[in-house]
């Protein structure tokens, strides 16, 4: 073993240790924030609920006449039944799958495309920055949900198009945030060093610029999942998202609305489910931001 490889190895292990201690530090800071921990627990619980839906739900989500129609909550149907006699608890459990799935994929679309655009324009600057950021201004000039409505309206209402619509409308946010961080990173010495050893632009963007923009991306993504879930539910509520009979909270609300007088539980619980998820994500996102914000670090 030559001295050279030994030192690289040492460097790698200290880097790893550094990263671990950084994650540990962030976790320590989140831990003292009760709201953030509570939010994280709820998110984990709901994710578990979504994953194990088939084992947890007492009935199938689309099983008609599982009980009497429009029955109020009872022991047999803790959250009541809908106009087709479907068990609402089971539908809400299955609905968590769709909501979380749409939320995460939509944010994935927004963060990947937006993040990449932001990193590229922040790194290169100049003309490409001007052109792409003006394009982002155009996207931002249309209220987010209206842009999603237009996209879904044009492409047709289904799961894939819903995710695309919500994801695309999130792109400008990430592009702006990442661009701002990229601008501050690109002049630093390690970028210069990477360039000096002949790293390609793409490699610098992927290995030097983007990892240093991760903190704002992570915070924005957590809060973004909350707003994506809200948007998706709103679109489904308007009849422009997930279509019946799929169990989805927004479209359940829209169906339950017709029976508000006789069966208010049909509008109460699906909305409560949305509110809980969004609240948990916001609490965790806030805590994460405080933990990652260097201004608050002592």
């Amino acid at each position: 073993m030559t001295a050279d490889t030994v030192s690289t190895k040492n460097l790698k292990s200290t880097n790893k240790e550094k990263r671990q201690s950084r994650i540990g530090e962030i976790w320590r800071r989140i831990k003292v924030n009760k709201g953030a921990v509570g939010g994280l627990l709820v998110i984990l619980l709901l994710t578990g609920m979504a994953v194990f839906a088939p084992y947890l739900s007492p009935y199938g989500p689309n099983k008609m006449n599982a009980g009497p129609r429009l029955a109020s909550p009872s022991l047999k149907h803790p959250l009541g039944t809908d106009s087709f006699g479907r068990d609402q608890l089971s539908r809400i459990i299955y609905g968590a799958r769709i909501s979380l799935y749409v939320g995460f994929i939509a944010v994935g679309i927004g963060a990947v495309f937006g993040g990449f655009i932001g990193a590229v324009v922040g790194y290169y600057g100049g003309k490409i920055d001007n052109i792409l950021m003006r394009l982002m201004d155009v996207l931002l000039a249309v209220p987010q949900i209206i842009l999603s409505i237009a996209i879904v309206g044009a492409l047709g209402a289904n799961l894939t198009n819903l995710m695309i619509a919500v994801g695309v409308s999130q792109i400008p946010r990430y592009a702006r945030i990442v661009r701002a961080s990229a601008l501050s990173v690109r002049g630093q010495e390690f970028v210069e060093a990477a360039r000096a050893i002949g790293a390609s632009d793409l490699r610098i963007i992927l290995e030097n610029i983007l990892p240093n923009c991760m903190a704002p991306i992570i915070v924005q993504s957590t809060l973004g999942v909350a707003s994506a879930i809200l948007s998706a539910a709103a679109l489904s509520f308007l009849g422009l998202g997930i279509q019946p009979p799929t169990a989805e909270w927004g479209s359940m609300l829209s169906l339950g609305r017709q029976y508000m007088r006789n069966a208010p539980h049909l509008t109460f619980y699906p909305g409560l489910a949305i509110a809980i998820v969004v609240l948990a994500l916001n609490l965790f996102g806030d805590g994460l931001r405080d933990a990652l914000d260097p201004k608050l670090r002592q």
Partner: protein, 310 residues
């Protein structure tokens, strides 16, 4: 100052042209033929052809777009496919309810959110602070359409004191304004609180205290004027979110505004109305953003000087 306003108004043109291209592209890349949707499955080939000719759907996309652009610059957004009325007329007809709703909601959000944030900061780490934070967090997380339905359930069905939907009387405006204003209220309360906490620790506040100024004067003259700037920023930024909320609130409460018009138009594939409506929203949003920037100048003499210089 006027030159600044004029320049900013000029900047609106490329953005709005960009929006028009974006919306045009989204709508026209969509599968499905509006002529078929409009006439239904029983239409003959000849009927379809005639309608396509009449709507200009046979031209190339570029020609269609430039016709649309040139006409809209003249204030002609085409005619609604569904009602055959000029789109501009439809939009203006529906403008009042949307505007009234937005103004009431924003007023409500400011009137509740600002004092909430101020109180929370003045009594930091007390139960009042916790209460304000919780209210803000809930207001931020509750979906507007659900809040609307729950208010309806409570105040129209269980205790029938407010009308559940419609437009025309002030009673009908209460619930929609609360629903639409809640999110912005929460945002304003949070921003006011954090901005207050920062400002009360500034040297000039300490100086004001040291020279024996009474605390009310310190709050109104020294603290609030400085707190307002970031608050105005987030309120302005949130206006776009609010315009989106208009669409949902109007649908929940059956208010005949522009938001509802757009949703109906999308369902019927009434392209000219969708285009015109979204362009109209983008225009409003840009104007509000400009208004917010000008408000800074009013609030902060430093910024005013900057505008003058530029």
């Amino acid at each position: 100052m006027w030159r600044y306003i004029f320049r900013r108004l000029l900047f609106l043109i490329p953005v709005l042209i960009g929006v028009s291209i974006l919306i045009f592209a989204i709508i026209h890349l969509a599968p499905g033929d509006p002529a078929e949707t409009l006439l239904g499955p029983s239409a003959t080939a000849q009927d379809l052809e005639e309608l396509r000719e009449q709507l200009g759907l046979n031209e190339s996309l570029t020609v269609q777009y430039f016709t649309f652009l040139i006409n809209s610059l003249k204030g002609d957004f085409g005619r609604s496919i569904r009602t055959n009325n000029p789109v501009l007329e439809e939009l203006l007809d529906r403008f009042e309810p949307s505007l009234l709703l937005a103004v009431c909601s924003m007023t409500l959000a400011i009137v509740v959110g600002l004092p909430l944030g101020v109180l929370a900061a003045l009594r930091q780490n007390t139960w009042l602070d916790t209460f304000c934070n919780l209210t803000a967090l809930l207001g931020f997380s509750i979906p507007g359409f659900w809040l609307g339905l729950m208010l309806m359930l409570l105040f129209s069905i269980m205790f029938p004191i407010l009308p559940s939907s419609g437009y025309g009387s002030w009673e009908q405006l209460i619930m929609p304004a609360v629903v639409l204003g809640t999110n912005t209220m929460a945002v304003i309360a949070r921003m006011t609180r954090s901005s207050m906490l920062e400002v009360v620790r500034q040297d000039y506040v300490r100086t004001a205290k040291a020279k024996g100024l009474n605390s009310r004067l310190i709050l109104t003259r020294h603290i609030l004027t400085n707190v307002l700037i970031p608050v105005v920023t987030v309120a302005g930024l949130n206006f776009g979110h609010m315009l989106g909320g208009v669409v949902i609130t109007e649908t929940v409460f059956s208010i005949p505004g522009i938001g509802r018009l757009i949703i109906d138009a999308i369902r019927f594939k009434d392209y000219p109305v969708v285009q015109g409506g979204i362009l109209f929203f983008a225009f409003c949003l840009s104007l509000v953003n400009l208004g917010v920037d000008l408000l800074y100048a009013l609030l902060d003499p430093r910024i005013k000087a900057q505008y003058r210089a530029s």
